[in-house]
């Protein structure tokens, strides 16, 4: 009789994310994963049918984790500035704590797993984000604009800081470390740019 062993599942998931994040999908396989996670291949097959099943299920779980982390303490009814700051703090915290998770998503972005992942993100997340922006437009806090324009101003600057931080350097090899202070400074510029 076999029981679900949460520690083993956790080890499998973490190793899979790390392997995909570092080496991509091409060399990913159940046997290599088993070695990395310190379990037998049979154990992995207890929980997953094959590589596809494993990657689909992990990408859905990761997408949900990211969605929930991003929406923590967030309410679509919030004022624009307050809501965006909650978003920035949540997104920064998730990206910094889950560095590998971001790389994992990046590797999946051009793969067949993308659709499942997007599907998962869509439901909860898009609704909350959509009505938050809609409310801000209705209240006259921001102008209506295409999603791409909004995202590029509202969030891309934050991800740019996180990217600098993860690489340890910004432009011309300047050393860079992320901090709440630098985040707030950038945020203030973004707010000035977006709010009427």
């Amino acid at each position: 009789m076999r029981y679900r062993d949460e520690n083993k599942i956790q080890a499998i998931r973490e190793s899979a994310i790390e392997m995909v994040a570092n080496d991509g999908l091409e060399n990913f396989g159940i046997n290599r994963l088993a070695k990395a996670a310190g379990v037998s291949p049979a154990t992995i097959y207890i929980y997953y049918k094959d590589k596809e099943d494993l990657l689909t299920s992990i990408s859905i779980e990761e997408a949900l984790k990211m969605t929930r982390a991003t929406l923590k303490g967030f309410d679509p009814e919030m004022g624009f500035k307050e809501g965006l700051w909650v978003q920035w703090k949540n997104r920064a915290a998730f990206a910094l704590d889950n560095h590998q998770s971001a790389n994992f998503f990046e590797q999946l972005r051009n793969s067949a797993y993308k659709d499942k992942m997007l599907e998962t993100i869509t439901l909860e997340f898009r609704q909350a984000m959509g009505s938050y922006v809609h409310n801000a437009v209705k209240r006259g806090e921001i102008n209506e604009m295409p999603l791409e324009v909004y995202w590029s101003v509202a969030f891309a600057p934050l991800y740019s800081l996180i990217k600098f931080h993860n690489e340890g350097q910004s432009l011309d090899g300047r050393k860079f470390k992320f901090s709440e202070k630098v985040m707030k400074q950038t945020f203030d510029c973004v707010i000035k740019g977006l709010m009427k």
Binding site: R2, G29, N31, S40, P41, A42, Y45, K49, D50, K51
Partner: protein, 72 residues
């Protein structure tokens, strides 16, 4: 209660898979089964109502394919 049974086989091609398919599909105690043909061990994974690995092995062997339980 469902049991997940894991086997190493030599069911390596879609043709091989299609030969064992009717045999496994017919068994009332088997809920679902898959073969990972990408894997070196061509892992057969069976979700069954009863923990009866020997019966699965006998069924696969009877179809002239190798089958051994994969240990944890």
């Amino acid at each position: 209660m469902q049991h997940v049974l894991i086997f190493k086989t030599n069911i390596a091609t879609p043709e091989a898979r299609s030969k064992i398919a009717p045999v496994l599909d017919q068994q009332p105690f088997i809920d679902q089964w898959t073969v990972d043909m990408e894997d070196v061990d061509c892992v057969l994974r069976v979700v069954a109502a009863e923990p009866v690995p020997d019966r699965i092995i006998a069924l696969i062997n009877a179809s002239a394919y190798e089958c051994a339980e994969l240990e944890d």
